[in-house]
């Protein structure tokens, strides 16, 4: 097996193997576990760096193993995969650091970090999957690896949340499976190709293809939290903060959204999907989700729940971008995949910091918290403004391309959806910022812990600050080479150029 064929597998194992080892580590071997975690994350980062460089220079990385006669397990680094892999790898490193700080002295850490690594492995697998069955495989693995993380706290509420999560995702997985088998039995192939592999079936199997599309999207929509399939997400908030962060920014929700990108772009191909007339309804569902999520977020007092509904709304931007057929909108959707991840992970880190340091869980308790924890709240502010779409932050870039794409495609209504959502985003984020910065702090915080002169533990503080800077950089330096935007353009060029 030469280097080009082995690299994707190597990237996968750089988190799988440490994860498996961690399972068997005794609870008290903190140093070994931390070394393994960080070592794996750094190694993966380096490998992904090599891959990005290679893909940019025309290398073709592909690992292929036979799974069934005629069906291979394929890990391939195409441009879309690289986008998602890079996102998850970078954010994994950050989240690992955060989780090490967050879970200091809590029980079951070996179990936690083991599943944590598995979860990332599955995400990377989802990203690198070169055909639908490989995707399905890792997608289900992701479901399974995330479940222990959600119920990690072990309370009754957590168990309930875990159950809800499983009910939704396994049902979704089943739909996905049916869709996958069906399309396989029709097309005889599942390989992701840039313009889809079902083009020749459009005339003969039109109805079947539409049903398959609906099945696939419904299956993926569960994870992507499309309304009305979003019910698990707010409940899953009982998980520890790093898990929520990972769930919302990188792993589960993103896997769903990424899957929809794959289905529309690489299974059906945008032209075929548009020809089938399925992109319109998909865009409508995404639009409804965007507005509904924002509306619901307005009324939440629990910080993490508000963020959860915000995720529901934001992730649908990606889907909206894909469903509006057109290069600019696709760029917007793809770039939002990255941007939303970076921004949302910051917000969850900050929420975790507030909960860990001051015992704050509700927005009504956040008065004046900016004075107590200025760095955390500064990071929160940047990301929240980014979510609203304030220039020049990351969210602005996404909205810009989405709006542009909508106008290009002659779907002006999308612009109003975007505007409405921005307005609602402002409505639910700005009061938090106002309370945090301008209201007078209370006499005592709910449950305060102190770390000397610092506002909180440095392992908890560094990750959100870093990701907030990334948010800033992703927007400000959008036109620099290797920025998410440039990469999204690169992908879209491949998708739309013959």
């Amino acid at each position: 097996m030469n280097w080009d064929a082995g690299l994707p597998l190597l990237i996968l194992s750089s988190s799988l193997l440490p994860g498996l080892v961690i399972f068997f580590l005794p609870e008290e071997r903190v140093a070994t576990r931390t070394t393994l975690n960080l070592g794996g994350a750094l190694l993966k980062l380096v490998l992904v760096g090599v891959m990005v460089w290679g893909v940019f220079h025309g290398h073709h990385y592909e690992t292929r193993m036979p799974l069934l006669p005629g069906l291979d397990l394929v890990l391939r680094a195409d441009a879309e995969a690289v986008l998602f892999v890079t996102l998850s790898t970078v954010l994994w490193l950050v989240t690992t650091v955060y989780a090490i700080g967050y879970l200091e002295d809590s029980p079951h850490r070996s179990r936690f970090f083991g599943f944590f690594s598995l979860c990332v492995t599955a995400t990377v697998g989802v990203a690198l999957a070169g055909n639908l069955i490989t995707f399905l495989l890792f997608y289900e693995l992701l479901t399974l690896a995330t479940y222990p993380l959600i119920v990690h706290r072990g309370t009754e509420v957590a168990r309930q949340a875990g159950r809800t999560y499983l009910t939704y995702t396994i049902a979704g997985g089943a739909l996905l499976l049916v869709g996958t088998v069906w399309i396989y039995s029709l097309a005889g192939s599942l390989e992701f190709t840039h313009r889809g592999f079902v083009a020749e079936l459009v005339d003969t199997h039109r109805a079947a293809l539409i049903v398959i599309f609906v099945l696939l999207i419904a299956g993926l929509g569960v994870k992507a939290a499309l309304v009305p399939l979003h019910g698990w997400l707010p409940q899953a908030m009982v998980a520890p903060a790093p898990v929520s962060a990972l769930l919302h920014a990188v792993a589960v929700v993103k896997a769903g959204a990424f899957g929809i990108v794959r289905v529309v772009d690489d299974v059906f191909g945008v032209e075929v999907a548009a020809n089938l007339g399925v992109t319109g309804p998909l865009a409508a569902v995404a639009a409804v989700t965007i507005i509904y999520g924002s509306l619901r977020a307005l009324f939440q007092d629990d910080l993490k729940r508000r963020l959860a509904f915000s995720t529901i709304s934001q992730v649908s931007y990606i889907i909206l971008g894909i469903a509006i057929v057109g290069p600019a909108a696709t760029i917007g959707g793809l770039v939002h995949l990255v941007h939303q991840g970076v921004m949302k992970i910051t917000l969850f880190f900050c929420a975790g910091n507030l909960a860990e340091t001051l015992g704050i869980h509700k927005i009504s308790e956040m008065n004046g918290v900016g004075r107590r924890m200025p760095w955390t709240m500064a990071a929160f502010t940047i990301s929240a403004l980014g979510m609203v779409g304030v220039p020049p932050l990351a969210g602005f870039i996404s909205k810009w391309y989405l709006g542009l794409g909508a106008l290009d495609a002659g779907q002006g209504w999308v612009v109003f959806v975007l505007a409405g959502s921005s307005l609602l985003n402002a409505g639910y984020f700005l009061p938090i910022l106002y309370a945090a910065w301008f209201k007078a702090p209370p006499d005592a915080w709910p449950a305060e812990r102190t770390w000397g002169s610092r506002e909180t533990f440095w392992l908890l503080l560094a990750p959100p600050v870093v990701t907030a800077l990334l948010t800033l950089a992703a927007g400000l330096l959008a036109s620099a080479p290797f920025s998410p935007l440039q990469w999204a353009r690169f992908i879209t060029a491949q998708e739309y150029m013959p």
Binding site: A171, F299, L407, S479, A480
Partner: protein
């Protein structure tokens, strides 16, 4: 060499204030507010006109200085130096730290707007300035200022949305988002009407032009002098500048819109003069002066839209008007502040507010309160707002309850509802396709 120097200078004009806005950095340097304005002063002193393109910034941003923008820059420098001096004067409480942060952020936005040569850059800097200025208003502390700040923020968000739409329309029409090219392209675009109305609304909201002016008197009445001094020169003048830069004036003839805008301008002037006379508070004088002068400006703008020839003749006066407006207002505010101080009025008089309404305070969601406030203050003088508030809240309550019950049933019957919904979704999709 010159280009490197120019690049460095132009970038540091908004960049240095931004950097200094970081509290950690600022606390170690003496005179941060003055230091921050230094690059702008240096830029003023270099006689050459030059501009740069920064391709890696956003979608490629241009910055440049020359002609009118030099004049505006000079005005801003004067204003900011004066404000910085006033800011330092009263005391150096620790809370001033945050004030300084917002001060510097606003400064960065303001200077950036003046230097920006493209729509996107201008827009980004104007947002920065807007949020920074909101911070300045709110940090000042008393209830009136906070209310003014909230109203301003609400308008700001709406304005940014409108401008964003306008930007999108422009970007969909032309690839080049420099001012000249964009204006030219929009003049021929079929979506000109949308563009014009969006731009006019956006900047009108930012500038506090008559029907959207209600935050201005509040702000003038309750902020500290340094901020009041900036009010005319920063948000108002810059928004007017935006209109001049964004609207394809002199290239199009739009009598209908021109007439409307003229009407608004005249109404604004009348309103300002009448209310100013009736209220007759000295401290509010600058506010009504702003409303009147912006009204005048808007009237001129309307004329320009209706009659391109007129704009071609007098258009270049617009910049001078903006400069004199900013400076004049600053002088007026300072004078009045000084007069008041001599007469012994409290510098920031306590305002009577209805913030202490008990049922209102009890209402949990701050958002709802905000939404309500922003919503109602856009209709000045409408005394039926009480009723509207009640009705609106009840409606929101009802909606919330409905949504909650949907959520509850979804979560309670997860399995059944998931299946049901999946099926429903599938069938709906099928019906739709």
């Amino acid at each position: 060499m010159i280009t490197t120097l120019g690049l460095f200078l132009l970038l540091s004009v908004p960049g240095l204030p931004l950097l200094l806005a970081l509290p950690a950095l600022r606390s170690r340097l003496p005179w941060p507010c003055y230091l921050a304005i230094l690059p702008a002063v240096i830029l003023l002193l270099i006689p050459a006109d030059f501009s740069i393109e920064v391709p890696w910034l956003l979608f490629g941003t241009g910055l440049g200085v020359g002609g009118a923008s030099r004049l505006l820059l000079a005005m801003s420098v004067v204003l900011w130096v004066a404000a910085a001096t006033l800011l330092r004067a009263p005391s150096s409480r620790p809370a001033d730290n945050r004030l300084a942060t917002f001060f510097l952020l606003t400064m960065a936005g303001n200077l950036g707007m003046i230097l920006a040569t493209g729509l996107v850059g201008f827009f980004a800097f104007s947002t920065l300035m807007g949020y920074g200025f909101y911070g300045l208003l709110v940090t000042t502390g008393n209830a009136g200022a906070r209310r003014a700040g909230r109203a301003y923020l609400g308008l700001l968000i709406l304005a940014d949305l409108a401008l964003f739409e306008a930007l999108l329309v422009t970007a969909a029409t032309t690839g080049d988002l420099g001012f000249g090219a964009a204006r030219h392209a929009m003049a021929q675009s079929p979506s000109l009407g949308l563009y014009l109305s969006m731009v006019v609304f956006g900047f009108a909201a930012k500038a506090g032009i008559w029907p959207l002016h209600f935050w201005l008197p509040l702000a003038f009445r309750s902020t500290r002098p340094a901020v009041a001094l900036l009010l005319g020169g920063v948000p108002v003048a810059m928004a007017l500048l935006g209109m001049v830069r964004w609207l394809p004036l002199g290239e199009i003839t739009s009598p209908k819109l021109g007439l409307i805008i003229q009407g608004i301008g005249v109404a604004a002037m009348l309103y300002a003069i009448l209310t100013g006379l009736i209220r007759g508070q000295l401290k509010l004088l600058p506010a009504y002066a702003v409303i009147a002068t912006t009204g005048l400006f808007v009237t001129a703008l309307g004329t320009g839209l209706a009659d391109p020839a007129a704009w071609a003749g007098y258009g270049n006066l617009a910049h001078y008007y903006i400069v004199s407006l900013g400076l004049g207002l600053a002088i007026l505010t300072t004078t009045i502040g000084w007069l008041q101080a001599r007469r012994g009025y409290p510098v920031t008089p306590a305002m009577q507010t209805d913030d202490s309404n008990p049922w209102f305070e009890r209402w949990p969601g701050a958002v709802v309160r905000w939404g309500a406030k922003i919503g109602f203050y856009t209709l000045p003088g409408l005394r039926s707002s009480w009723l509207a508030k009640m009705g609106c809240l009840r409606q929101i309550c009802a909606w919330q309850r409905i949504l909650d019950s949907i959520e509850h049933s979804l979560q309670r019957w997860t399995f059944a509802s998931t299946l049901l919904l999946l099926l429903a979704m599938v069938s709906v999709f099928l019906a739709a396709c």
